[in-house]
């Protein structure tokens, strides 16, 4: 299995820049997700790694070997397009053996290798079955087996679970990650579903408009989003973003929300003090305090029970906010209440650049600082 290193990777289609000057290192054995909305450049990045798209400039290294100009077949990478693309007239055994047969691997060896991947994927009992007899999950396993049997240097997957229903998707997510834990294959996984990326990936690169905005482990993205876009894209519900303004006053720095009649809020401490001018205050739903004693007045618009907790939708002069509270929280739709922000659990953003100005206090330090422009 290989390390994949992208350096100054750039792809333009005429005027349109699909991927802009991207630097990423995907470690050997890592499950790495490219996450972003449609059109963000994640699939183009994946296709360049696979060799299906030629970069405009920049380099792609597999274990140090430059492959940007090498044709796809020679890169030894398995692109799992659509996990359902199997040959319906062949049985499971022959489907899995197909890539070996086309390479001229002798029959005995083929059988051995098929048996081995079938064992890893726990589908030995299905080898004689017809594809049409298989359930959705088993088909997916067979398609994976066919990709694995070539012993590729890395797996590339483009929304492989996209066509499945929610329940099946959760089961396959679990299975794909379980499989990864057993074989530790370098995997690059493209998705627009933040939940999928958070639950499966060792690290996630969030992309938007051709740029990698942040590449980090899931909880680092979650607690310390580097930009407003990441803050709003990751999390369900996403981070609350409140328009605010910094004031340098005689008594000290003051942070005020940009809404009529709202009290000053405590600001996270920044190394150089609070900048004067427009700011955005970001707070995760579970970090908002909700109760009549809290200072920002609000009305409960919706209160959703979810078994282990509740999600409140709150209308305040500073806009609509979502809060995650305990299942026993008394707030009901229509209630008047208050919202409080703990400055140690808040992030300030500069709205002109979109960049975060601080890290959440008490958040664990970054394990290592490489892997992306904002790392």
């Amino acid at each position: 299995m290989a390390e994949i290193e992208l350096t100054h990777l750039h792809k333009a289609f005429d005027e349109f820049v699909a991927v802009r000057d991207t630097n990423l290192t995907i470690h050997e054995g890592e499950f790495f997700a490219l996450l972003g909305p449609s059109g963000c450049g994640k699939t183009t990045t994946l296709r360049m790694i696979a060799g299906l798209e030629q970069p405009t400039s920049g380099s792609i290294r597999l274990d140090g070997e430059e492959v940007a100009r090498i044709r796809p077949a020679r890169r030894d990478i398995a692109f799992v397009f659509q996990l359902f693309a199997l040959y319906p007239h062949l049985n499971v055994q022959d489907n899995i053996a197909y890539p070996l047969r086309s390479r001229g691997v002798p029959a005995g060896e083929r059988r051995e290798q098929v048996a081995e991947v079938a064992r890893i994927l726990r589908i030995e009992h299905l080898l004689r079955s017809r594809i049409s007899q298989l359930a959705g999950g088993d088909r997916q396993r067979v398609a994976l087996a066919r990709a694995m049997v070539r012993r590729p240097r890395a797996f590339l997957m483009d929304e492989p679970l996209g066509t499945l229903d929610a329940e099946m998707r959760a089961a396959m997510r679990d299975e794909l990650r379980g499989l990864h834990d057993r074989i530790r294959a370098t995997t690059v996984y493209v998705t627009h579903d933040q939940m999928e990326a958070m639950s499966m990936a060792d690290r996630i690169a969030v992309m938007n408009g051709g740029d990698v905005l942040q590449a980090a482990p899931p909880m680092e993205l979650y607690l310390n989003p580097a930009t407003l876009f990441v803050a709003g894209f990751v999390g369900s519900p996403p981070m609350n973003l409140l328009e605010a303004e910094g004031h340098r006053e005689a008594g000290g720095d003051v942070l005020r929300l940009r809404a009529e009649g709202t009290p000053a809020v405590a600001a996270p401490s920044l190394p150089g003090g609070l900048p004067a001018g427009p700011l955005v205050l970001g707070v995760r739903p579970e970090h908002l305090r909700v109760g009549p004693e809290a200072s920002l007045p609000a009305t409960v618009y919706g209160a959703e029970y979810l078994g282990s907790h509740r999600i409140l939708t709150l209308d305040s002069p500073a806009g609509r906010l979502r809060a995650r509270v305990s299942k026993d929280h008394p707030a009901q739709a229509g209630d008047r209440t208050g919202i409080g922000v703990d400055p140690r659990q808040a992030i300030l953003f500069d709205p002109s650049t979109g960049s975060a100005l601080n890290r959440m206090a008490g958040a664990p330090p970054l394990p290592d600082a490489e892997g992306g422009p904002h790392g």
Partner: protein
């Protein structure tokens, strides 16, 4: 809006029985969700209320009147399909007026305008009446879609997974909007879905339907915390219920076959803090999802799920101790029925006996050996 009542509805398709003695009622102004897996009979129930299916036996009552023999048109119920099933080339006004221009209605232009404006005011979309449907936000489309049903002044709304095709973010937002709107309008809604999150968040009461049988009806909190049986426990909740088989004879003699514990109630402790009654489990994997973390655990060949809200609560790998808390366990008999059925009685030791959790702890010793 009106009360809806189903009495002993049975429905067969050929030799397959789709619904079996189905009875429930929806109060005027209530949001009722039928939750169940594919093939449970949810859509058949909806179509029976609408008059699109004839029951083999039983009655449908609308506003207290027996409507079993009525045609769909006579019933005045409003099906709401996908959010975006609006006519894109028409304005909001024309979309809302459309059902009123049906040949049978014979309403004058002034009456149509009056009704459309009244509904638009209720839905707070007055200012959008001249906009094309395509120029609306997701939430506004939902309002127009409901409004188009509302102008007909229906007895109730019938909704068949109206949010299922939308992406997660939009769905979340529209869910909150729909619930808010229903309360504001006092609408009677029968909503069917296989998504337990929708059922929990939208419903005043949920009915869990499995295999044509209504398993349990109640407010979401009650159905989640006090499921009548294992089917219901598995339908409600996004992680599988942890189930522990009971082997000890003294406990089995009291009819307890399995103990169930929700993922958020399974206590996970560092291995060195393990008490004599705790289970030892291997951590297979931890999903850190932001506000919550889910640990996938293994005891023998059994999978357990634990959910927590503090960051770093579960170690990434290795051994942990698992404890079943007294107050948060459910006891099931061999048929899967929950034993301590009345809310409030949960967790209390029956006279002369031990509580289900004590039983679980004792049972845990057996499981470990």
């Amino acid at each position: 809006m009106a009360e809806v009542r189903l009495e002993n509805i049975t429905k067969d398709f050929g030799r397959v029985r789709a619904l079996e003695g189905l009875s429930f009622h929806i109060e005027d102004g209530e949001f009722f969700v039928l939750l169940g897996p594919t093939g449970a009979g949810k859509t058949t129930t909806l179509r029976t209320v609408a008059g699109l299916e004839r029951p083999a036996a039983g009655r449908v009552l609308l506003g207290g009147e027996d409507a079993t023999g009525w045609s769909p048109a006579q019933r005045d119920v409003a099906f709401v399909f996908q959010q975006y099933s609006l006519y894109p080339h028409l304005t909001v006004f024309e979309n809302l007026a459309f059902p009123l221009r049906a040949p049978g209605k014979k309403l004058g232009a002034r009456e149509i305008r009056r009704r459309v404006e009244e509904v638009a005011a209720k839905l707070r979309i007055e200012s959008k009446l001249d906009n094309k449907a395509t120029a609306l936000s997701g939430g506004e489309m939902q309002r127009v879609s409901l409004g188009r049903a509302l102008v007909r002044e229906p007895a109730c709304f019938l909704m068949d997974e109206p949010l299922s095709s939308l992406d997660a973010k939009l769905r979340e937002g529209l869910r909150v909007e729909l619930k808010h709107l229903q309360v504001e309008l006092g609408a009677t809604i029968l909503y069917v879905t296989h998504d337990q999150v929708e059922a929990m968040t939208l419903a005043d009461r949920v009915g869990v339907l499995v295999g044509g049988h209504l398993q349990q009806v109640g407010p979401p909190e009650e159905v989640y915390e006090y499921p009548d049986n294992l089917e219901v426990a598995q339908q409600m909740g996004h992680l599988p219920l942890n189930l522990f088989p009971v082997e000890e004879e003294a406990v089995r003699a009291r009819g307890i076959d399995r103990i169930g514990v929700r993922a958020e109630h399974l206590r996970v402790l560092p291995e060195e803090q393990a008490g004599p009654d705790d289970l030892r489990a291997e951590v297979l994997r931890v999903e850190r999802l932001g506000a919550e973390e889910v640990a996938f655990l293994r005891v023998g060949n059994r999978r357990l799920y634990a959910m927590g809200e503090e960051h770093g609560r579960f170690p990434d790998a290795g051994e942990v101790a698992v404890r079943v808390e007294t107050d948060d366990s459910l006891a099931f008999d061999p048929s899967g029925r929950r034993l301590d059925r009345d809310p409030g009685g949960r967790g209390e030791a029956p006279p002369g006996g031990e509580s289900p959790a004590d039983a679980a702890r004792r049972m845990a010793r057996g499981l470990r050996d």
